[in-house]
Symmetry: C2
Subunit: 205 residues, 2 copies
């Protein structure tokens, strides 16, 4: 196995699915968490491909972009299907979850707090329920114990982290109960949460 | 080979990299292009996983989300590396190009034309040049004839279509010369454009 280091801030967000995939795969890695000053300094030195974190350092070679890293570690850890159709199902679930974030961008950039909350209200009432209902149905159709069949995949970990983020109450105007009504999504969340290696990781972090 | 159908509108946009990958791979496919009325009707019938196009129909099974489809056809056509590190380089280039689109979203949602153009001006002057400069450097570092080494991949096709879109003048306030200064990006664009199967496809469409 190569020498692997995950570099990110000391938060879950974009790195946690990567850390969980490596943990589930039993792949040793350095869990580097840097502070804001170090981030600014390294960013100014142009130390990373796209001036962003997370990055993954594999035997000295750097991979950037969180979903590129997630697919890479998914392959190393057996959490990304080798069958192209099964992999496409994993990929389409990840893309749909990413689209939630994309839909948030205009409200996140809005400076006027009143306008921002109005946009968030529209997202929470109409846009997100429609997207999550579709995702729930796709998981119902293709899932078993996990989102795609009975084996845990990076799609489960990505969705699990989205559920954690949106349930945290950290997004102004988005109710932390947003993901609650979707039973197939929640089944996946529960299956990840109770996975022995995830439970052990979470107990120690 | 399975029976394959690409369903989209009669434009390039999100479907063209998929069509080009299949074409380069020599994989026969039905190139279904639907009109707005048919789109609205099928969308209301909930005919697709995420109420969006493109979709790919493979032996009757539907794959949604353009990059999930692109990875799938990339695997079928030999345009997605089987080596995980090489695949990660392809994935990180695709993600960086997607991030351009993500950065456009707030301005795309802005109703006030003056504000929108101000946001676009900031994108064109600062945000995009920084992102494209990084991308150009990554391609310089990892590329050969194409963006990752000497073999054409879905990263090349994705970047090629982005160059086409941003050079079209269709985005208010974004100069069509945005991609021009980046020599490694332009080398990839030229290599794709002159690929015999791409040239033949474009001559006939």
């Amino acid at each position: 196995m190569p020498s692997i280091k995950v570099t990110y801030f000391n938060i879950k967000a974009r790195a946690e699915p990567i850390r969980l995939a490596l943990t589930i795969g039993g792949i040793a890695f350095e869990d580097e968490r840097i502070g804001k000053e170090q981030f600014v300094s390294l960013k100014e030195q142009n130390a990373w491909p796209f001036r962003q974190l997370p990055i993954l350092t594999v035997d000295g070679k750097i991979i950037a972009q969180s979903t590129a890293i997630l697919r890479y570690v998914g392959k190393l850890s057996g959490l990304y299907p080798s069958d192209p159709y099964q992999a496409a199902l994993v990929d389409m679930i990840i893309s749909q979850v990413q689209d939630l974030e994309g839909a948030m961008k205009p409200s996140g950039a809005e400076q006027d707090q009143e306008k921002k909350l109005k946009m968030r209200s529209e997202l929470a009432s109409n846009v997100f329920p429609s997207m999550l209902q579709d995702l729930d149905r796709v998981i119902q159709q293709h899932g078993g114990k996990y989102a795609v069949g009975d084996s845990i995949s990076i799609a489960d970990l990505f969705l699990y982290q989205a559920n954690t983020s949106y349930s945290s109450g950290a997004y102004d105007g988005i109710p932390p109960t947003l993901f609650q009504p979707y039973v197939h999504i929640q089944k996946v969340v529960a299956a990840v949460k109770t996975h022995p290696k995830v439970a052990a990781w979470e107990a120690s972090h």
